[in-house]
Symmetry: C2
Subunit: 313 residues, 2 copies
């Protein structure tokens, strides 16, 4: 389905339950929230299935759209969910009932009856913006804010390479419609928990370099996280840290797991293939960002992944 067809499909439905993905980000939650908000404006009943893993910073904007316990959905829609196994915890029973998947992952497995997939969109926020416009729903400040959060969280506030002219054009219209971009940017991109900032300082100070500074390794042990009162879920951004240092071609982040294993993120530039490096350890991902898990403590794991990275330089 294209955007027009997806909008037409939604126009003919009511009592719509919207599914988000597990370990939810701003795009899945706020795109879904924007869609529910828009459908409500059309006089339809529409809710998000409660996502128990939603972080407080997104919950404050989307929690009110979570379905009440007695809601009986007639139509199931998913937003930003690439495979049925990625549906939010608690949504397993709906996996084979999804009538429409709205998604921007090229890898979408076409699990839904109808799929509206646009790999060129930087976020599902862009797609829901188009659907909302197609349905003739006016952009008010609340709707604009939801879509602004969706668009910015998936582009790092317009800094990632997925940001297109279209992304910026849509953002411009959202701000014009009243999305409080200055406040939202401060909240989402310029505010960090004290423990995280201090932990980052510690990690940076102890970063290890090799291969003429082309490989950098940051290690986060369980002890460090405990010392600074930080949990792993709060450290999503940290994987990009070593790769931001001038001259570094392979940025490696090692997170020690509670069971002593090492979860590894690899970020690469200049044609070095992260996917190839991680594949040596049964991991994988994209050419510039991949991951793997090693059954060794961080120090041993560091030696292994650095050696494998050196071969790919």
């Amino acid at each position: 389905m294209n955007i027009k067809e997806a909008a037409g499909f939604l126009a003919g439905k009511d009592n719509i339950l919207i599914l988000t993905h597990s370990r939810p980000d701003g795009d899945t939650l706020c795109s879904a929230g924007a869609l529910a908000y828009g459908l409500n404006k059309l006089g339809k009943r529409s809710f998000l299935l409660k996502n128990p893993e939603a972080a407080e910073r997104y919950l404050k904007y989307t929690g009110k759209f979570f379905a009440p316990g007695d809601f009986e959905p007639e139509c199931i829609v998913s937003v930003d969910v690439a495979r049925e196994t990625m549906i939010t915890l608690g949504g397993e029973m709906y996996a084979d009932r999804v009538e429409l998947a709205i998604d921007h992952h090229a890898s979408n497995s076409r699990y839904a009856e109808n799929s509206c997939v646009e790999p060129g969109a930087a976020s599902c926020g862009e797609m829901v913006y188009d659907i909302v416009c197609e349905l003739g729903i006016p952009l008010d400040p609340e709707l604009a804010a939801l879509l602004y959060i969706a668009v910015t969280t998936d582009t790092g506030c317009f800094v990632y390479t997925n940001t297109s002219a279209r992304t910026l054009e849509i953002a411009s219209r959202l701000v014009a419609a009243g999305a409080p971009n200055g406040r939202l940017n401060k909240e989402l991109f310029r505010t960090k928990k004290r423990g995280i900032v201090l932990l980052e300082g510690e990690i940076i100070s102890n970063m290890k370099f090799s291969h003429n500074g082309e490989i950098a390794v940051a290690t986060i042990t369980q002890k460090l996280m405990a010392d600074f009162g930080v949990v792993e879920a709060e450290l999503e951004d940290i994987a990009s840290l070593p790769g931001q240092i001038e001259g570094v071609k392979v940025g490696i982040t090692i997170k020690e797991q509670p069971d002593g294993r090492s979860k590894i993120s690899v970020r690469t530039v200049d044609g070095v293939n992260a996917n190839e490096i991680c594949a040596k350890f049964d991991g994988g991902g994209h050419p510039c960002a991949a991951g793997c898990t090693l059954n060794f403590p961080p120090e041993t794991a560091a030696d292994m992944i650095v050696e494998a990275s050196g071969e790919s330089l």
Copy 2:
């Protein structure tokens, strides 16, 4: 003068020398470069006066527009220069000959014969974009890239509160015209010198908190800069660091000077007035960002500025 009048003025001139401001940023250099490039496209001779303080990351895009030694200008234009005392080193002799100042600072002192000042513009890049369009100069990838750098450096890549719907709209058109936003963002916003990253780590680890965590102080000594091979000019971004920590209302950065004095930056949120704090020490600035210099070493200066900040909480 408004944009239309400024464009008309430039259309009637030739042999135009463009001045930038001292301690130049991406906006003054690349807006000026974009203007010279555009005027050249119209068949005019136009150059930037060499700015000896230009950083390599902007020089690579604008150095080729610097005037040759034998250039005899007939018309002097300034871009992003709020006062004549802020004209680039080497441009003093032109201070009373500026025929047109293109600027977005509300504080522009009207030193030029004609002033085109738009305080609502987040960057001079937005104004030069409008002038270039008004003159009918087509946007090609090189011109678009220059303007994109100007627009993004003054908005922190669209994250600062000065970013407007118009900023994003212009950015969208620049990307559509071929500005390589992904590569430029990586270069300008996602790459840091190793010494700077390590110095930041050290500074963060040693940050001092007081007043229930509402005041944070980061101190950069001469010794630290020497240890990490970093000069003060490379540390412009660092003033925003303490203020990004959750709960901090006054973020203070102290840079020890070679003569032992303390240069202080204050960043505030939630209505705490940075200007008021710095005014107590003969400094000043804006309500959310101000500065002052204390004739004391960092430790003493820290006590003084923290006490003054505490009174403003």
